[in-house]
């Protein structure tokens, strides 16, 4: 039996952030990670000599240096990380494309405002009111009333097309709920995407992970890779010890779990009850990745960084009955940010669409492969409808492809149903009903890379560091 002060389950963004805070202030902390690679939902891998990000399209919450009081600035301070280490490049511009209607947006909010004034002139007053309401809502408070975002947005806007278009990027980049989202989550996402913006390190998510790992190591934090937690043994309302995959036992004063609410609940021995309930998320995705010999610009796709698309009558963010819902999705050109003199040698196109988790989980192996090939093709076709006609034949330029499904997500992240954004039920204060078991990450309710990092920071502060001060 070994002992640590704080055990963190999961070496993703939130676990690392919590670990950095704790190690920096001299706590004896160890991160346990089942996989050999860090990063969790935002990891990276190599295939055929090429490096891929698992899921990252862009980091949200971009603000330029010198902007005060931003979430990005806050996390850099809290983690004692120099902004330059993250090597953030801004997006070119992004687009919401619904049928024939396009709304462009960039890291300058004025562009989005002028686009809405142009396409939806009658809605402009309501839109301004909505944005004021968003700015005024303190989404960082841990206690929040749950209100429907559609209901609040509906008090300011009437045009269903505009409402759906506004919701689409926010849902795709963070909502664990179907059809509607929680108002506070809407505010967090709207600030992070429309009022702040998109950015990406030239070398992708590994830059962020490397920075975090270095910082964690330098602060004295320990981590054990390929060393998952199999069981959380409890008694008298607290965690007694952790049982690792290799049979080892670990005692800890505090346990911070970043693996999800239902996922944590399933490790409890004896099985617990509320509030660590078993209500896993239902929303998952497929994503196709295509690497082209030519850079994005040469292919004729140099204008867009990210495009949120919908071809349907209405926008339906929900688990499809079929394996995939090809009506809506997200197109991302991760190599098409403002990288300055650094020109990526190849173009990359990623396309995401909603998928049905059970459908993909239960397919026999050969059918699974056939369905992947079929949907790869259909998703590409759906994307091409809103992209400019390519300057080159994309099929002829393609040098590598890859694709993930809900099955892939479950395998590598442990998320039940491959639910990227976790459970619709969030525990914003991180409490689990066990006095020394704290939740951070996806199901704590902060979103994206910046959200995940802030989640780890704030939970470590609130539950471990602050009580000692």
């Amino acid at each position: 039996m070994s002992k640590v002060d704080v055990a963190i389950i999961g070496c993703g963004m939130s676990g690392l952030a919590a670990g950095i805070r704790l190690a920096h202030f001299g706590r004896d902390v160890c991160i346990f990670e089942r996989h050999n690679a860090p990063g969790g939902l935002n990891s990276f891998y190599s295939l055929g000599g090429r490096k891929f990000d698992v899921g990252l399209h862009a980091m949200t919450n971009f603000v330029r240096p010198g902007v005060r009081g931003s979430p990005l600035g806050k996390l850099l301070r809290q983690l004692r990380i120099d902004r330059d280490e993250l090597d953030l490049a801004e997006q070119r511009r992004s687009r919401i494309a619904f049928g024939g209607t396009n709304l462009l947006f960039s890291n300058d909010f004025e562009l989005f405002e002028s686009q809405i004034a142009d396409r939806f002139p009658g809605q402009m007053d309501g839109f301004r009111r909505l944005i004021r309401t968003v700015r005024d809502h303190d989404d960082t408070k841990l206690e929040q009333e749950e209100i429907s975002a559609r209901q609040v947005v509906g008090t300011h806007l009437q045009d269903p097309l505009l409402i759906d278009m506004l919701l689409c990027p926010l849902m795709y980049y963070g909502s664990a709920s179907e059809l509607d989202m929680d108002w506070t989550q809407f505010v967090t996402m709207a600030k992070s995407i429309y009022l702040e913006g998109f950015c990406r390190p030239f070398d992708g998510v590994r830059v962020v992970i490397r920075t975090l790992l270095n910082r964690y190591r330098q602060a004295g934090g320990q981590r054990r890779m390929k060393c998952g937690v199999r069981r959380i043994e409890t008694g008298d309302g607290r965690v007694r010890r952790l049982l690792l995959d290799n049979g080892e036992e670990v005692e800890a004063n505090h346990v911070i779990s970043s693996i999800g609410l239902a996922e944590t609940g399933r490790l409890l021995d004896p099985p617990g009850d509320s509030p660590v309930t078993d209500k896993p998320g239902q929303l998952s995705f497929i994503e196709t990745m295509t690497v082209f010999r030519e850079p994005t610009e040469v292919l004729g796709w140099g204008a867009d960084t990210i495009v949120f698309i919908n071809h349907g009558e209405r926008f339906e963010y929900a688990r499809p009955d079929d394996l995939v819902d090809p009506r809506s999705g997200v197109i991302c050109f991760p190599n098409n940010f403002q990288y300055g003199d650094r020109v990526p040698s190849e173009g990359v196109l990623r396309v995401t669409a909603l998928a049905n988790p059970e459908g993909w989980m239960t397919l026999p192996e050969d059918t699974y492969r056939a369905e992947k090939a079929e949907w790869f093709k259909r998703i590409q076709e759906s994307a091409q409808k809103v992209l400019p006609a390519p300057a080159l034949n994309p099929a002829g330029s393609s040098v590598a492809t890859d694709m993930f499904t809900p099955r892939t997500i479950r395998k590598f992240t442990g998320h039940i149903n491959g639910a990227v954004y976790g459970s619709p039920q969030k525990t914003r204060d991180g409490r689990t009903g066990y006095s020394n078991l704290i939740l951070c990450g996806t199901d704590q309710g902060y979103l994206g890379i910046v959200g995940a990092l802030l989640s780890g920071i704030s939970m470590a502060n609130l539950h471990v560091l602050k009580p000692q001060v």
Binding site: F25, G69, K74
Partner: protein, 84 residues
């Protein structure tokens, strides 16, 4: 320890917590919050850095004493002196 030395230590800590702040002209008699962008998370970090670096404890009821550089020096200098 002199009060000026104490202020210097506090400035050093703030410089590490908030490297994006300009600390060249911090007025000692004005509340730090009124001249710098410091939130409650940052103040908590000042307290924790004091403990980490100098084993100085600041109970929550005394946070108010850290409002300005002058009040920091007033409050912390005796604590530093008590260490030696």
């Amino acid at each position: 320890m002199t009060k000026d030395e104490c202020k210097k230590i506090v400035i050093e800590i703030i410089a590490d917590i908030a490297p994006d702040e300009d600390l060249s002209d911090v007025k000692p008699d004005v509340r730090l919050r009124d001249q710098l962008e410091l939130d409650s998370m940052d103040f908590l970090d000042i307290v924790m850095e004091l403990r980490k670096r100098y084993q100085i404890e600041v109970p929550e009821a005394d946070y108010i004493q850290l409002a300005s550089l002058d009040s920091c020096a007033e409050y912390l200098t005796p604590k530093f002196d008590a260490l030696v």
